[in-house]
């Protein structure tokens, strides 16, 4: 249970926002923590049926939403992209 900063680029935003997550958080929780602070502030609401996923910035494939921060060996201030699947 360790706090770790993560830099999140949410689809539609102009840049990255640094949020603090728990290293046992799943990607679902990381996505929730990021989007609840930026959706409706800098990007408009996603469609209600949108599935949001996260990807390590620069990686080829997204992470499963059940993956955890610790399990994926996030580095301090890891950069991730959060976007709508499909």
């Amino acid at each position: 249970m360790v706090d770790i900063p993560v830099a999140c680029n949410i689809q539609g935003d102009y840049g990255f926002k640094v949020i603090v997550v728990d290293d046992e958080d799943t990607m679902t929780e990381v996505i929730r923590k990021a989007t609840e602070q930026i959706v409706g502030v800098l990007v408009k609401q996603f469609p209600p049926d949108a599935k949001l996923i996260a990807k390590i910035h620069g990686a080829d494939t997204p992470l499963p939403n059940t993956a955890t921060v610790k399990g994926e060996n996030f580095r301090q201030m890891e950069a991730i992209d959060i976007y709508q699947e499909g």
Binding site: P5, A7, C8, N9, Q11, G12, D13, Y14, G15, F16, K17, V18, I19, A34, Q37, I38, G40, V41, L42, V43, K44, H57, G58, R75, Q76, M77, E78, A79, D81, Y83
Partner: protein, 498 residues
């Protein structure tokens, strides 16, 4: 007895040098202060500045200039100009003076180093005038800015800003420290003259002066023009230096110095002049966009100057084109939404008419950056002012100190350029900022960005700690310069949606 004409004695006076006999040349000109790049002093002595001036002429012409500038100021001092100026113009003045005054004054130190440690006697001569010029530029701008202090306490930041850890000031100070204050005299001369003065000062001083005159701010316009007349004299130090380097097998070294300095300064000017020209200048007085100006003065003119000197265009010239159309638009969003972290009162400058202008100058603006602004505007129209401020802080570039950003909205694309070194992850806004870091990691790796400082224990986590760290009292946190009244430019929600 008739006085000799300057042309008759100038070269003799300028070339006067001496051969040290009591100490060695290396002791007189230690390498860390005065890199000769293994070029012999006899070659450095061939330095020839095109525009010539004697001390006698310098004193006379500078006095005439000061009389001109100060008399315009005195004549306009009793005008109501500042009181009647729009929040647009006030924001622009506050931003200009707080960033520029101390930067000019500090550069006197760099010119002082050139005065003492340059290998060319001609350059030592020119740098003496440059030192005096920069003292002048610092003093005249602070003096002019302080005229406004009785109207607005923000102008206290003209003097105060350099002593704070405000995030924008950290960014600017880092950039100028890198190119001017931590380099030997030869390198600093090339970097400062070619990377800043020849390339960008026209942007902030000539273009802004024209806009100022249109806005009716003749005092400011005259001051800017007066400052810029000094530039030709001391900015020309760089060109003969580069020529000597290129002609003596040191083209690659000169190329790299110019490429680093130009990019460091581009980032600063893109934020300062980009926001100034494309947003803060009142719409009715805007002519050229940042892109127009960069295309003509920098891509065009400076590009030709570089090549005429025997250098190549910087390797990142194509990337620069992309950055010109994107970076400052993203930074303007950040400067507005995080307005409490600014010492002046930021303004949005995205009324329908302004958005139309932005679209005409940057096709696609409304589908990209406009989409972020749409959300901000919606919140303001609903009276949800707090929702216009993002809670989490932005990611900051570990080189330029500004936001890591990209393209927003429908064409969303941000790129974070990374370096992992000694168990630490460094982030960069561009491949060029990253490239600069990788040239000399030991030089840069110890610096912590303002965001690093939020998470490494330097800055406390209480709600006021960040502002106190940056030197802002509660009254000095930026608010919307129009008090959100600019939203009246948008009609009812139904109409705006059309």
């Amino acid at each position: 007895m008739a006085m000799l004409k300057m042309e008759e004695w100038y070269d003799l006076a300028r070339e006067t040098n001496w051969t040290p006999s009591y100490v060695t040349e290396d002791e007189l000109f230690p390498l860390p202060m005065s890199n000769n790049f293994d070029i012999p002093v006899s070659t450095w002595e061939s330095f020839d500045e095109p525009y010539k001036v004697s001390y006698r002429d310098y004193v006379k012409s500078q006095r005439d200039k000061d009389v001109g500038a100060y008399s315009v100021k005195a004549a306009l001092a009793r005008s109501d100009f500042f009181k009647k100026a729009s929040p647009h113009w006030k924001a622009l003045l506050a931003l200009h003076f707080s960033a520029v005054c101390w930067a000019e004054f500090h550069s006197a130190s760099a010119f002082g180093r050139m005065t003492r440690f340059s290998r060319s006697p001609g350059m030592r001569n020119m740098a003496t005038f440059g030192t005096l010029d920069e003292i002048r530029h610092g003093q005249i701008q602070i003096y002019f800015a302080y005229e406004f202090l009785k109207h607005d306490g923000v102008f206290d930041w003209c003097h105060k800003s350099s002593k704070t850890e405000n995030w924008i000031i950290i960014s600017l100070r880092h950039a100028l420290d890198d190119i001017a204050h931590t380099r030997d005299a030869t390198s600093a001369a090339i970097m400062l003259n070619m990377g800043l003065e020849q390339s960008f000062t026209n942007l902030q001083f000539v273009a802004l002066s024209a806009d100022a005159a249109k806005c009716g701010d003749h005092s400011f316009a005259t001051m800017l023009q007066s400052i810029q007349t000094d530039e030709a004299r001391h900015a020309q130090i760089g060109e003969p230096m580069v020529r000597i380097m290129c002609e003596n097998g040191k083209k690659a070294e000169a190329q790299q110095l110019v490429e680093i300095a130009f990019w460091r300064m581009w980032k600063q000017f893109s934020a300062l002049s980009g926001i100034g020209m494309d947003y803060y200048t009142p719409l009715e007085h805007r002519e050229n966009s940042l892109k127009d100006f960069m295309d003509e003065w920098v891509i065009g003119q400076f590009g030709r100057t570089i090549e005429a000197l025997g250098l190549d265009l910087p390797w990142y010239w194509d990337y620069l084109q992309y950055d010109i159309s994107t970076f400052h638009h993203a930074q303007q969003i950040g400067v507005y939404v995080y307005r409490a972290t600014q010492w002046w009162r930021p303004i949005a400058c995205v009324s329908p008419a302004e958005r139309e202008w932005l679209e005409s100058k940057y096709p696609g603006w409304n589908e990209t950056y406009g989409k972020c602004w749409d959300v901000v505007i919606e919140n303001i129209r609903n009276g949800d002012f707090e929702k216009t401020v993002p809670a989490p802080p932005p990611l900051i570039c570990n080189m330029c100190g500004l936001e890591v950003s990209g393209i927003a909205g429908d064409h969303w694309k941000s790129v974070d350029h990374q370096v992992e070194l000694d168990n630490r992850l460094y982030h960069f806004c561009s491949p060029v900022c990253k490239w600069i870091f990788e040239i000399e990691p030991s030089r840069y790796k110890g610096h912590a960005s303002i965001i690093d400082r939020c998470f490494d224990g330097t800055i406390g986590t209480g709600p006021d700690d960040f502002y106190e760290y940056m030197g802002h009292s509660f009254a000095e946190r930026g608010v919307d310069g129009y008090d959100y009244e600019w939203i009246d430019g948008y009609d009812t929600p139904q109409r705006a949606a059309e």
